[in-house]
Point group: C2
């Protein structure tokens, strides 16, 4: 298969954008990415989005975003895989260029979440769970994750304070990210005192919803070589699924979809976890960060939290995560998150991560998870020069 | 590029399925298609759906449908392009196999619309229009089409009765389709007397919403050759977009997206409209049938309705349309419709269309339209033995 590259990136700040609609957020990210790549007209657009229908009464988002970004008439579709919609859109962009039918396409993730009443947003987010067997019984998305965290603490003997460094690390890194929703450090004390949301998940275990858009230009090798910036190779792009309802899984504390997509990605890139320089994981809740580290092979079962406790997840650690703030502190505009992760990984690999720059990094991995582990998309990105 | 085939099809009856959920409808269609193709485990699943989030509070439909169809863990995503979601899902399946990364995948379209209160369904369908500039002003989807039909009648001097044969032809053909929602003929008299919905669109100009699912197995040539049934080649698969809001188009009576996707499809298949044996078009409203015939090159501007008046759209006519009932009489479960069209075209090309069989047909075209022409997906299918 031919090599495929990212040749342009764009992102808006994540936050409460009362002045910007879905189409305006997308426009901002897409134009940035196209300008970086110095191209006028990509051949196709894949829009990752979960909630535009439920929260903004707007579907047909492919055509809408394409038109508003000045790309009227091109091929454009929306891709949905709950909170992994952004990762899935990039995966489709990758497959499209791999097919040889396209030389240059755009993957954009966009979400607008803060306009709707909070109860509506909570209900809409619960549609990532099984509507008939989970949400129907009143389980919200944070409640599902609270059940997982409680079980994990019980099985492996952790306290909720043991998870604190996931949030502290993310906020420390977000302080240097101008696009982060919460660009400020927090203390261990603040974590311990944080308001309980769904015991044992506190406010500071939880990523925040937000409005935002991010975009990447994906191109064939031939096309990439004539672009101005260092192209970053997509060494792997892999998606796997699991049951949507947690009770249908033989082992609720093992993210089988994340494991399978990681394994597929390692095989494609012909590398193992020990060669990955940093990992932009899906820390929607701190328990998800722990489970993702385990499923991706960075820690044995029950030991994901130890990487946080021992600070191996910091910029100086063995496996840096959430290097620009992660979902926790950059913010989690759900359908856009998977693209934000990749944009941040590209910044690291191009050496443009500013104060958070990892020295000499060449291989970055991103993992975008939808539902409570029902779908996972893993990308491995490589600096090849 | 390598040749790509459809090697299995499945469909449920379209109707009010009070006893079946989204996952159960999908299961039925997917298992039929996999059994026809005699395969156990495809490599990926693309689910076309528009409204599961808004009407059933269920997203993450890729993972959900995969699991319930016995395909847990495979790659699975949902594709949305309003009423063209099914066509877009097949297009993605086509691109995936074209990439060489997959040898056999499934495209499934599913929609469940009759469970929600009608006002909620009407609001949800309006999300295919521009939320800020059309739906916001109270324009429903049928109202948008009524504006187009009124303008067309004014420009070209037709009466609403001139459109009658679109509905009459569709219902005549549906009478022999066991999966049709309305398997019965209607008279010209009934058409004229039909209740007005949004003047000049009457009940019998309008397709009905419904519940249903349809699926196709898409495979590489190598894989297709070892399958039991006549494989049908996908000679072209093309998607194009336009502005979502009708007022943004220089000429509201010309479906630019449908035109562009038709042109791309003809170029891919290296054929012209005169070689197409039948056309499964998007007759969501009779005005859409007329505009689609014109955009696809089967009639000059303003002459699409003449094909109906002169009965050239019947099974014995110059360009048969809606050969198994079309959206009008088979029913229009929106995100599933694009796959139903393809399933019906495959039945014709395999010689399995029963009483509605077109003799000696070798090239069939399908066109799935989302929004009021904002996105169009055109497929050309070929019997090659």
């Amino acid at each position: 298969m031919r090599d495929i590259y990212i040749v342009g990136i764009g992102q808006t700040k994540v936050g409460e954008h009362w002045d910007k609609s879905l189409r305006e957020l997308s426009l901002e990210a897409i134009r940035q990415a196209l300008e970086e790549a110095q191209i006028e007209l990509p051949e196709a657009l894949f829009v990752g989005n979960m909630l535009s229908g439920q929260l903004s009464n707007q579907q047909n988002l492919g055509a809408l975003v394409a038109d508003h970004a000045g790309l009227r008439h091109i091929e454009a579709i929306k891709v949905e895989a709950a909170c992994a919609s952004g990762g899935a859109a990039l995966h489709m962009a990758y497959v499209a260029v791999a097919s040889g039918l396209y030389d240059v396409v755009v993957a954009c993730g966009v979400e607008k979440m803060t306009e709707a009443p909070p109860s509506k947003t909570t209900t809409a987010l619960a549609s990532a769970a099984d509507a008939l067997y989970e949400a129907e019984h009143g389980l919200s998305f944070v409640a599902l994750n609270a059940l997982l965290m409680r079980r994990y603490m019980h099985e492996y003997g952790y306290s909720r304070e043991d998870f604190g460094n996931f949030a502290i690390n993310a906020h420390r890194n977000a302080a240097n990210n101008p696009c982060a929703m919460f660009p400020r450090a927090i203390t261990q004390e603040a974590f311990i005192q944080a308001k309980m949301i769904a015991d044992p998940i506190s406010l500071l275990d939880s990523s925040a919803i937000g409005d935002g858009a991010a975009a990447v230009v994906v191109a064939s090798e031939h096309f990439a070589k004539s672009r101005p910036l260092t192209p970053i190779r997509i060494a792997a792009s892999a998606l796997a699924t699991d049951s949507v309802a947690i009770h249908d899984r033989p082992d609720p504390l093992f993210l089988q979809a994340a494991y399978l997509s990681s394994q597929k990605a390692y095989a494609q890139a012909q590398v193992g976890p020990e060669e990955i320089d940093f990992f932009e994981l899906h820390d929607a809740f701190s328990i998800m960060a722990a489970l993702s580290l385990e499923a991706a092979g960075f820690a044995p079962r029950g030991q994901g939290v130890r990487l946080a406790i021992e600070n191996e997840i910091s910029l100086q650690g063995r496996i840096p995560i959430s290097t620009m703030g992660g979902l926790k502190a950059r913010g989690h505009p759900v359908g856009a998150t998977g693209i934000y992760q990749v944009v941040e990984a590209v910044l690291q690999l191009r050496g443009e991560a500013g104060a958070n720059q990892l020295q000499g990094c060449r291989l970055g991995m991103t993992q975008n998870i939808g539902g409570s582990g029902a779908v996972a998309v893993t990308h491995i990105l490589e600096r090849v020069d």
